[in-house]
Symmetry: C2
Subunit: 476 residues, 2 copies
Amino acid sequence: MAAGTATVTAAALVTDMVKLLGPERVFHKDVDLKTYTYDSSFVSQINNFTPEVVVMPTSTEEVSRIMRYADQHGVAVTPRGAGSGQTGGSVAVRGGIVMDLSAWDDIVEVDEVNMQVVVRPGVVHAELNNHISSYGLYFPPDPGSSEWATIGGMVANNASGLRAVKYGNTGQYVLGLEVVMPDGQVIRTGGLKSKALKSVSGLNLTGLFLASEGTLGVITEVRLKVWPKPPSRAIVVAYFDRLEDAAQSVLEVFKAGILPSGIEILDDGAIRSVNLFKPQLKLPEVEAAIFFEVNGSKAATEDEGRQIEEIAKRRAGSVEMATDAKRMKELWTGRQAIGAASARAKPNAARIFAGEDVCFPMAKVPEALRRIKEIGREHDTMVVIYGHIGDGNMHTAPIIDPLKPEEVEAAQRVAEDIHRLALEIGGATTGEHGVGFVRAAFMEEEHGAALTVMRRIKDCLDPKGIMNPGKIWAEE
Amino acid sequence: MAAGTATVTAAALVTDMVKLLGPERVFHKDVDLKTYTYDSSFVSQINNFTPEVVVMPTSTEEVSRIMRYADQHGVAVTPRGAGSGQTGGSVAVRGGIVMDLSAWDDIVEVDEVNMQVVVRPGVVHAELNNHISSYGLYFPPDPGSSEWATIGGMVANNASGLRAVKYGNTGQYVLGLEVVMPDGQVIRTGGLKSKALKSVSGLNLTGLFLASEGTLGVITEVRLKVWPKPPSRAIVVAYFDRLEDAAQSVLEVFKAGILPSGIEILDDGAIRSVNLFKPQLKLPEVEAAIFFEVNGSKAATEDEGRQIEEIAKRRAGSVEMATDAKRMKELWTGRQAIGAASARAKPNAARIFAGEDVCFPMAKVPEALRRIKEIGREHDTMVVIYGHIGDGNMHTAPIIDPLKPEEVEAAQRVAEDIHRLALEIGGATTGEHGVGFVRAAFMEEEHGAALTVMRRIKDCLDPKGIMNPGKIWAEE
């Protein structure tokens, strides 16, 4: 059988999908399926969640036909974008169909005057911004994975990233969605024909599908508000001997009435990793480096940059501000390199994604980071920390040898303890990556009775439980 | 009987409510009930939707007990804040209980470091901002009704107002809600104990309750993100002989990469009304006045103000920029006076709220405003127009003698035509005020199949249909 509740065999499922889409966009050989068994989450990489078939629809009608079929035959469907998620959200933990939407990447419309774009789910974030920059427009949320993350995935996870301090998350820009419901019905949220920049007409279905992680339907089109591109930016990087001083400086910048477009942190381990990866950067090896970015008019960025520089100097060992493009790029490289660099913190090791997206109350960030380091020590696991200190959203990276079972087990305990720490001190288990299956076990503790209301909505919109099963809710 | 499906008499309902809350916070005399038969919508004012009883709970436990009772006895419950809404949303069109939450106005917590506040639903917008300004914080959305609108009402309608261009709507600041469900169950969205500034954990219930207009549950507590207060602002007012030039200047400001905190318009009728109301202002009687506001650092606001002044001068007959507080206040008075002034456009007339909140695509604003004037002429009704041109959200005000039935009837036809115009040219029937019962008849045309999905969610969360019945969905 194709999945838990399916009424067709895997072979029949493949045959039927070929009938719907033709042979070129249906994959069922082991070698093809293998690449769909994981995303960036460590747990998916050490398991083997294999779908029966992968399909690549490129029209709403095709998606609707697939969903009608899946509904009729009780087959699980897992929508997938770039597969760059870190929660297993796009992995078919119950088998069935993986619906790969990454090839459906049309920018349907750029409406310059109405400041909005219409895109299909597979459009990559960086490609969208490259495309619309010639119109003087941009889509402000900036996930670290800009070069591969798809807009469909960003909506399904309500992604945010480096500019959320000032610009919030993806959801703040979503004006409307086309969604194929689990039974194949096609709806449009935000108004059937609307190009309005604001609407409060009817229940907020757009909001409900945000961060629904493919559990309520398939997002097949996104109408996004975009904004005039700020003409200027400035970067201030400050190096602090003490983590607490770094956190305090962030609060003092806010206190001055400044809302930077981004505030990022590298902890001592992250700084060392970057230096090992790019020795020419020679970052001072202090306890915390903070990267402030401001944007706006030239006068504004220079003024606010100077103010931030003054504020940071009160507590930092060294501070540098840059407004010219070349130096800004060099300074920002330190922040950008950490994703690739973190594994350098330990010889023959890899950085894994586990417990990597906790969000802490601003006041608790220093305490939280110290406790994460303790957790690492308790489990004899190196943990490098970086992320969006401007909103408390920290990316913690266990560095392990994934071929050593004891290190793998320790890393999983580290991730569990980090999640529990977030809940204990009033944070959230995930600031921007989502729940998937890796955090499903924490949902009851995090949400209490609200989880039952979420479940009622899920059961009402997907009564057969075929949409991305095994995510958000832990095994019954 | 107390309402359509109620199993208790009105007298028993009153007795039972007194048992739950005591006599001081339960009202049932005709004179008391009368003040709850309307809100600011014209349609509610010419009808007589009288509840059987009004209750004023001031704790979650009380709200929960009332909802358990209502669930058990099938009694309709209509939550109400200040009653300043313009859709009939807080009026008991099916009788039953009006739950007046305006007295429950505790600011539970101001958490300066975590930049968030926790408030009960009855807190008034202006009071919240007055209270937190001493912490250097502010809640950016600015409804014109700031002096009376409650935060509960703002969440229930996802209100926005004069600063939505840059700061979006109420929803972008809501981190979590406490909600009493229709059966009395109490849930907390956004995490049981979370003080995180970002979370994508679980289905977005916070988003679902935004703009749900009391149809899914009662909002009993709101956790809001607040922001550092910008230290400076500047105002530029420009007067245009032609509406099209005014609209074009707005687009040119965006094109320069500037995102003003507000962009407001007064049309010729609105300007004349303001001059009749406050003759000392002597506004130039042109076709359109545009009020730009920018905020941020002092250097930023002066720089962006100057840029806007230059851009506006290309097309405007006259332009004035102000950065000193006194002159800014004088200039802004022109915009602020319009709410009270609009009735002056015609002797012995009143301004009514009907068709007052359409939102047009930016590119269609001039065409839409000209067509609204035509609609007015067709029905021999004066229509004054003002509002948030920065996001296309226009407030249209029919000016009539409400004692003349033919003028009342004409105004209702004007409102209907304005709503149809919005749908025809790709706008929305409501940008920020909501649906209530006055726009319920347009929902099917506006949303198509999505309306059935909204209904499924409604039926799933409120199976007995007791939460604010008769709103969003037209009569079955």
